[in-house]
Point group: D2
Chain length 353, copies 4
C-alpha cells in the first residue's frame, strides 16, 4: 500500500524496453542524437506549435530553468504559497535566477485566485519603493493539493499577469494527471491549457507518471531557447547521453501511454477518495488528479501504517476552517501512481472503513 | 517644510569641517588610515566590546553585507513585511547572499511580534519539505513606521530566533533616533539593545542623521569580519579613500553630536505629532522616533503641498482596521531630521489645524 | 568505427538489467532508498574509508558541486588550461561556486607540472593586490589528453597546494580508465591516488565507462556533505528517483565490471595507438587511457570519414613544438570505449596504414 | 614624499567647497536632485552625445556594473593580465556579472596588443567546446603601468572585438591622466577615445584625480541604463544622498579643473621620470600618465624609505627581459597626484641621484 508518493513507484516496463533498445547503439552526445530530434518533433505535434525543448534532470531544475528564462535576477515570481517552487526546492529558483524573489500568495483549494493575485500585485511599498520588478506568475498544474486548474481558471490568472507585463510559468510535474482529468471533462488539448491559455514556459515532467527520469522545459517562445541553453549548460543539466531521456519521453507519448498511466493513477485516487467519503471521512481538497487529502483519526493512521500503508501527514495550512482536523485527527496525503493496484486501494479502504 | 525624508536634508556643518580637515593631508588607502583605526576604537568604546567594523556606501549595502555574513545562500531571512530590506532594496539581500530568501511576516505597529514570528517559523511545508534553511531574523530599529522596539521586545524576538539557531540582524538606518528615544526612556546603552539583546550584526547608519555618507556593518562576532571583508571587496564597497567616512562617523560621535541631532529630529516629530492629534487628526502609528504617520483629508494634503510642504502618501498595509483612512483621506508620512526647523513644524501645524 | 567519444556509446547490458530489476519495485524518493544506502557502503569499501556521496546528473555538475564545497565565492581555482572545467563546461564552475575564478595554467603532456603550478601561485599582483583567494587545485584523471597522473605526480602537485592552504579536486570523468592503467602498472588502490594522495573531493563518473548516467561527488571530508547537500538540492540535482543511479553504480562495481570495461577501452586505445605508430604516424600525447591523439594527413582523415570513421580534429594547443602537425595534416582525437570492437580498430588501421 | 598612490592624497579644496555649498540645502534623495541632473547634462556636453550616467561608490563597482551591463552571466571578459579588474578587485567582476569569466591576455608595455587579443579569441577548446561566450573586451586607460593607449591603438583593439560581437569596456580610473596626455599630444576629445573609438561603457573616476569619491559608469548605449539601474540598486550603490557625488564631479569639470589637476600629476611624473633616467636608472615602462616605474638598487630604496619616501616595489610580470631588475635591484612604482609638490620630486631625485 504505497501512497507515500508517485515518485516512489518504479517505472513502466515500456520505459525499460526503450532504454534497452538504445543501449545497443551509438548516439551523438549532448542532445545531438536522433531520438532527441524525434522527440522535439513529437512535442511540436502534441502542442500544436513549435516549442523549445530542454531536458533537465529534475522537475526542480526544469522549473528553475524556466523561471530563469522568464525573470531577470531582480525580478519577482508570484506563486501559491504552498507551491513546490516555494516550499520544496530549497531555493533552487533563487539560485537559477540569480536572486529573483518568490512572492507567496494565499489561495483556495490549493490554487491561486484572481482576487488574491490582484491584491498582491496591487500592493506597492511606499514612495521610494523598490521591490524586485514583478516578472513571472507561476501556476502548478495539477496543484500540490491534487486539484486541477480548469482552462478558464488559468486564463483568468494569466490575463491579470499579462496586463502587468508578467510572463507565465507552469509547473507541470503532474501535468499528465491534470490533462487526463481535463481532457475527460472538457475535451481540450494540451495547447488549450498552456500557450493558448497564456503560458510561456511549461516544466513538463513524466517521472512521477512512470518514467525513471523524464523532465523538460518547454518554451513557447522558442527563440528564447538559445539563451536558456547557455544557462542550462552551466547548471550541469546538459547530460552527455541525452538519448535515454528522449527515449523515455517517446515511449510515454507513443500511443498515449502517458495518458493511460495518468488515467489509471487518477482512477485509483478517485476510488480511494470516494471510498473514504463513503466511510464518513472528510476530504481536505477535492480529488481531481492523483492525490487524495483526507482527515483521518490519528489512531486509524497508526493502524494503517502498521498494516503496511505508506502515507504522509500533511500541513493543514491553506485548508478552509471547516475542513481542519480535530485534535485527535490529522490531514493525510495519499498519492496514487501508474503502479497502484486496485487491491491496494481496496485493502486500504477496508482498514479505513 | 521638508517632511519628505531625512535623507533629503543636507549635512551637519561639523561633517564638512571634518572633511575639510582631512582633505589637506595624506592617508593610506582602503581603510588603512589613522581615522579609520581611531573610529574602530571609538565604536568599541561605544558598544562596550570589540566589534568588527566594515564601511559600506549605503544602508542597503550595509544590511545586505550583514545578511551575507549571517546566512548561507540557501538560507531564509525573516523580517517584518514592510521592512526596508523587503520592500525598498530591490533584491539587494538576495544579491549579496547569493539567493537567500526573504520571508515577510505580518506584525503590529510596524513591528514584528513574538507570536507572528513563532507561527511563521513553525510552518513547515510537507514531508519532503525543503524550504531554504531558517538562518536569520532581521529587526529594524527604529522601524519604518516610526516606532521603536524596547529592550524587552527585542529580546522576546531574539530568544525565539536563537532557540532555532537563527542569527539576528538589526537594520539601524535610524538607530540614532531609536537610541535617543530609548536612552531617554529607559536609561540604556547601545550594547543593551544590540549584542546584549541577542543581535549579531548591526547596520549602523548616520547618513539620515546628518552625515553625507556614513554607513557601516558592525559585527558582534568580530571573527567573522575577515570573511566579510572578502565579500565586501567584491561588492565594490571598499572605498579607496576611507578616511572621509571615518571622519564623518568620528565627527558624529564626538561629544554625542549624533544624539543631539537625533534628539532634535525626534523632538520635531513629537511636536508635529502632538499638534496633529490636538487638531483632531488620527495617527497611524505611535510617534516614537522621527517619523509621523497621520491620517489627513486629501484636500488638506493638496493645500499643504501647495504651501510648499514635502511629504508622501503612504501605504496603509499593516495599519489596524480602526486607523484606516476614510475615502476622502490618506495616510501621510512626515519625516523630520536634524535640519528641521521649529518654524517649519509650526507652519505645517497652522495649515493642518 | 565510432571514435568520436566514449559518451557516444550506449550502455552495458548489465546497466539495463539493473534498471529492469528496480523498475518493478517501490523505493523511497530523494536518495532514501536501499540501493543508494548499499552503494554508499560499497564506495566506502572501495575507497577504504568513509566518504560523502552525492549524485549529480552530469560530470560537469559533479565537478562544480565539488568545487563549491571546496571554494568560497571569492576563491580561485587552479587547473590545467585545457581542463574540462576550463574549456568545456560553459561557466558551470563559476555558477555553482557563485563566482570563483578559474585560473588556467600551462602544462606538459596534458598535465599540470609542479613548476607551472608553483609559478602561478607565486605570482601576486601589486601591493594593493586583491586577487580572488587561492582556494582549490583541480586535477583531471585521466587527462583530456589521454594521459594519466601517476601517484607521485599527484602528490607532487597536492603537496604544493596544501602548503598554501588549497583544497584539491579531482575530475574523474575517466577515473576508471586512469585506475585501470595505474592498477596494472603500479599495484595501487583507488585510495592511493585520491585521498591518500591529498585529494579532498573526487567527481567520480561511470557514464563514459558504460553507464547511462552515473556521476557522483565523493567527499573525503564527509562532514562537508550536509552543507553540499543543500547546495545540491538548490541546483536541481537531487533526483526524485535516485535508485536508478545507485543501481547503475552498483552494477558497475559488482565483480569489477567497471574495471573490465575500462581495461577493454584502454586495450582498444593501445592497439589503435600502436598500429598508428607502426604505420609511421606521430602521436600527440602518450596513449595511457582510452584516448589516442595522432597526427594524420588531412586527405587520410577525409578518407577515414568517408569510410564511416567518427573522429574529431583537435586543437594543438599544449602540444610540444616537435609534435605539431604539418600544414597538410591535423591532430585527431580517437576515443575508444567499452563498446569498441576489435574489428573497428583493425578496419581503422587498415585504412590508416 | 608620497609616491605610494594617488588615492592616498586628500582632496582638492574645490571639492570641499562644493560639499559645503550643498550641505546647507535640501535635495531629493536617490539621484533625483538638481545637481545630478545638471551633471548629466554636463557629461553629455563633454562627450558630445547622450550618455547614461550611474554613480558608484568605487571604481571597482563602476567597472563591474559596466561589465554586468555588457556581459551575460555565461560570458567571457577579455583583459590585459595585469588589469585592475583581473588582479585587484577580488572577484567583483564575477560577482556583479553573476559568474562571467575573466580571460587574462599577455601584452606589451602594460597594454593589450591586437595580436595577443586575436590569438586568444581564436583559441577554441575542442569539438565539444563550451567556453563561456566571448562577450566583452576590457581596456584600461591609463593602464596600470602608467602608459596610455593612443586613439589608433584603441580602435585596433575594438575593431577586433566588434568583428566578433564583443562589447567594449574601458576602465577609466585614471582617464583624466590619459586624456591630459593625449589631448596635449593629439588634439583629441573625450569622445574620440571612447565611443567614437568603439567603447560602449566607461568607468569614469575622478577620485584618484582629487575628489573624495566620484565614480560613475557612463553608458554610450543609454537605453541600457534602465536595466543597469536595477542591477545598481541591488548592489547597494544607489546612495541616498547623491548630490555630494554630483557636486564633486561638477566641481571637477568646471573650468577644466580635472584636467588642470591631471596635467599637474602628469608633469610631476614626467619630472620624476626624466630625473631618474638622467641619474642613470632604467624605466620599466614609458612614463605617459602619472605613474613612474623605475629599477632602483635595493639599498637606495631602503634609504629613500628612511628619508620618508612612500612607494611600492612592483611585480615585474609583463616587463620585457631587457628591463628586468638585477638581483640587487627592484622595480618600484611611483605615483604622483594632484597634491604632489615639486619639492617632493626634487628631494626624491636628490636622494636617488
Amino acid at each position: 500500500m504505497n501512497f507515500a508518493s508517485d515518485n516512489w513507484a518504479g517505472a513502466s516496463p515500456r520505459i525499460i524496453e526503450a532504454l534497452a533498445r538504445g543501449a545497443d547503439g551509438i548516439a551523438p552526445a549532448y542532445g545531438q542524437d536522433d531520438l532527441t530530434r524525434e522527440l522535439k518533433a513529437r512535442l511540436a505535434d502534441l502542442f500544436g506549435r513549435e516549442v523549445g525543448v530542454l531536458f533537465a534532470a529534475t522537475g526542480s531544475a526544469a522549473n528553475s530553468l524556466a523561471l530563469s528564462a522568464l525573470s531577470p535576477p531582480y525580478g519577482a515570481v508570484y506563486a501559491y504559497e504552498e507551491a513546490h517552487i516555494v516550499g520544496d526546492e530549497a531555493g533552487a529558483p533563487e539560485f537559477f535566477t540569480q536572486g529573483a524573489r518568490l512572492v507567496p500568495i494565499a489561495g483556495a483549494g490549493g490554487k491561486l485566485t484572481p482576487a488574491g493575485l490582484e491584491a498582491t500585485l496591487a500592493r506597492g511599498s511606499g514612495s521610494g519603493s523598490a521591490i524586485p520588478r514583478p516578472a513571472v506568475l507561476s501556476i502548478t498544474q495539477a496543484t500540490e493539493s491534487g486539484t486541477v486548474y480548469r482552462r478558464g481558471e488559468i486564463t483568468a490568472l494569466t490575463e491579470i499577469a499579462r496586463a502587468r507585463g508578467l510572463k507565465v510559468h507552469m509547473d507541470g510535474a503532474r501535468f499528465a494527471n491534470a490533462f487526463a482529468f481535463l481532457a475527460k471533462a472538457d475535451g481540450i488539448s494540451p495547447a488549450d491549457i498552456t500557450w493558448k491559455a497564456g503560458v510561456d514556459a511549461l516544466a513538463f515532467g513524466l517521472t512521477k507518471n512512470g518514467a525513471l527520469m523524464a523532465e523538460a522545459v518547454l518554451l513557447f517562445e522558442p527563440e528564447k531557447a538559445a539563451e536558456l541553453e547557455w544557462l542550462r549548460k552551466r547548471s550541469g543539466h546538459v547530460v552527455s547521453k541525452a538519448w535515454p531521456i528522449a527515449a523515455q519521453f517517446l515511449a510515454m507519448l507513443e500511443n498515449d501511454h502517458w495518458l493511460d498511466l495518468a488515467r489509471h493513477a487518477n482512477a485509483m485516487a478517485t476510488a480511494l477518495s470516494q471510498g473514504l467519503v463513503a466511510a464518513g471521512h472528510r476530504l481536505g481538497y477535492e480529488t481531481q488528479a492523483n492525490e487524495v487529502f483526507a482527515v483521518l483519526p490519528k489512531a486509524m493512521i497508526a493502524q494503517l501504517r502498521q498494516a503496511g500503508a505508506r502515507l504522509y501527514e500533511w500541513p493543514v495550512h491553506g485548508l478552509p476552517a471547516d475542513r481542519l482536523p480535530a485534535d485527535d485527527a490529522d490531514l493525510v496525503r495519499l498519492v496514487t501512481s501508474f503502479a497502484t493496484k486496485g487491491e491496494e486501494v481496496e485493502r486500504f479502504l477496508a482498514l479505513a472503513g
